[in-house]
Symmetry: none
Amino acid sequence: MSIYSLNAASGTPIYRQIVDQTCQLIASGQLLPGELLPSVRVLAGDLGINPMTVSKAYTLLEHDGIVARRRGLGMVVQSATITPHESLRPQTLALVEAAKRLRLTPEEVVDAIHLAWKSEGKST
Amino acid sequence: MSIYSLNAASGTPIYRQIVDQTCQLIASGQLLPGELLPSVRVLAGDLGINPMTVSKAYTLLEHDGIVARRRGLGMVVQSATITPHESLRPQTLALVEAAKRLRLTPEEVVDAIHLAWKSEGKST
Amino acid sequence: MSIYSLNAASGTPIYRQIVDQTCQLIASGQLLPGELLPSVRVLAGDLGINPMTVSKAYTLLEHDGIVARRRGLGMVVQSATITPHESLRPQTLALVEAAKRLRLTPEEVVDAIHLAWKSEGKST
Amino acid sequence: MSIYSLNAASGTPIYRQIVDQTCQLIASGQLLPGELLPSVRVLAGDLGINPMTVSKAYTLLEHDGIVARRRGLGMVVQSATITPHESLRPQTLALVEAAKRLRLTPEEVVDAIHLAWKSEGKST
DNA sequence: GTGGTCTAGACCACA
DNA sequence: GTGGTCTAGACCACC
């Protein structure tokens, strides 16, 4: 099994899931600067998807300066510039925005978080 | 200005934003059962979007039994079947899932929520 | 014939040529802000290439904020932020750098420019 | 430090940079016919790159008759067959072509050249 | 071995 | 109609 966990059912495209999870793995220190990402073909094989899909994700990561191409070697992680907190912002904002539209209080949202935390499969 | 607030920049499609926000307006009691939704034409005009897009959203809402078509009248809100809590589940799950991948603790997430709550434009 | 002119023999990938030329067309005012780019399928047909190649170019242009996606409509040109001069910088630098390595004088380079200008097919 | 100056960030492959710069060094008289090129091992060490990459560049240079292999000695420079002007052609053409697409005048291009010449780090 | 490019064709989502 | 995603497979460039 891979460090990546894809969710085919989710609406978000596969290549985007790879980009996001890679960012998160770097932000949380599970991928260190200088380390090599799994090769396109290997990751594609592991995840059972087309190499081009992985390649697209890697290209985006490179474009954003998250990783760098080393010709003939692979993709290496650049120095981490994102903190776990920043990495979580989009999801946080989405939740808060929706909660406000629902006229909920912060406390109600926090309750919902704790509930979801337990009900979901244990974390690693 | 409308009770709806669309975000063209966001990735979520317009029709989906209308569906979601309508559900949230009902769940939070800002739209009451029996009340009439704005007509397709009016809402499209207000939001500056294609009427077909509004129509698609309304069709979905009807399909889910959230509103009903009254010939010659428009769309009326059915009795609220969803609680605010349920309505918030997708966003909650997304947050928790991402946080676990980042190896954060529930407390850190709660902090992030409180922070985002304040930093965002004051709610009503 | 299209406003684009591809050079299959050149080493630069097709999608890159489309990106570059689009930037140049905008910089020179041949494509105006608000204007729609040719649709992926149309341009692909005109140039005799695969739609995905055009799509890749358009995606890059969007990522760089040069054009914006209008869902269901196409790609529209954003306000031009690049001047013709800036747009020419990479090529200018490459020339100057090489000329310095060859220990040529600026005058010799200017001569070469004038020569190449005439020998090439007349400009539009 | 070496007479070669590689740019890993640039898109052009390393072996190509070596080939090009060698040609330019010969064309400008900084490498004279009969002179020995640095050995593959030494150059690779100096530049901090893979010896295979240097070897590939040398093989190309030999194939083009620019240098010759002398068993037990190394690669010696042949009589210069290329003039500095010819050596500059690709970059010149690229500039002119782009400028025409931007509908600039030769004078504007010359201005850009002079500007870039000064703004760049002093040569030699 | 590494990643990059391109093709052909299918299917989806959006307006 | 628009663009987006994914697949399968070929070929190239680089180290």
